[in-house]
Symmetry: C2
Subunit: 180 residues, 2 copies
């Protein structure tokens, strides 16, 4: 696919997500505001896992008047609208990632450097549903996280290095193709 087409698709996608958002706002009897528009805008253009805090600082750069609270509240709103998804990687922070128009996926997290790889396994998905039904549950959603040592960190294993547990490590998000 051409770059131009990629961009066109991206723009299209943004438009759709904004429409979804406005629709949700209307249905819920809420109001469209400049802050919500800006926060959504910046959220959409950022293809990363980010915390409310992260997003807050990005928003700050464009409009320093926006407060922490509004970002929190808007992220909840985006989650309700199906545009964002909450994820946790074990560092006791809530990350948000795009949800609408994005394939569902799970995460592998490196215990050494904090790198996060996204993957998708249809087999695991269907077995999860099977298990849920076996216990009489109608499944709604799930969370699967795998932890381990990534290739890079296995090679660095000789050198001494701090582990993730011992301090904040930069988190890297690695885009990945489907798993199985």
């Amino acid at each position: 696919m051409l770059k131009l087409e990629d961009m066109a698709k991206k723009i299209e996608e943004f438009k759709n997500e904004k429409e979804i958002f406005l629709e949700h706002i209307q249905k819920a009897g809420l109001r469209r505001t400049a802050q919500r528009d800006l926060i959504l805008e910046i959220f959409l253009r950022t293809e990363e896992h980010l915390t409310s805090e992260d997003l807050y600082w990005l928003v700050q750069k464009e409009d320093p008047s926006v407060g922490h609270t509004t970002v929190y509240r808007t992220l909840k709103l985006l989650t309700e609208a199906g545009l964002a998804r909450e994820v946790r990687f074990g560092d006791n922070k809530t990350y948000y990632e795009h949800h609408y128009n994005h394939e569902h996926h799970d995460h592998i997290i490196c215990t050494e450097c904090g790198k996060v790889v996204e993957f998708f396994s249809p087999e695991i998905e269907s077995m999860q549903d099977a298990v849920a039904h076996k216990f009489g549950f109608i499944p709604t959603h799930h969370s699967l996280r795998l932890w381990g040592v990534c290739e890079d960190c296995q090679h660095k294993a000789n050198e001494s290095h701090p582990t993730m547990a011992s301090g904040a490590q930069p988190r890297v998000r690695v885009k990945t193709i489907a798993g199985n």
Copy 2:
């Protein structure tokens, strides 16, 4: 198996877990104290998912002089020793469950009543390992949680009822046999 044998096995298991604990304490150059003994004791005899808070109150009943802090610190210790495992069900609390001598398992959580069912699926387990290796990771551990509506709540679906999101619901732990 006779009840008597069950009890004998239980006692045996407790003894082992205590030994593990003492061993861990020794290896780490730490010290055995009355508080740690008591907290471990009560943790072991409680076959539930419990929070530090929960455990604190149970301990209080037997020794009101023990503080919150010590329970927190001891639970961390038990986790390091491999006797406890931290779990989260989405209500933003850290639960602890027995880990040593207990089969590894995952959880299905009812989104309506908060019921938690434990299950184990060897197939899912091995697929998880396969996925990790595919991405170059050496897997260490994982967390799989399924959410859905349990059988009871499906039947109650006609009556009006609050959802879990709208308030604290009693959490029930259901002991379960292996999943697949």
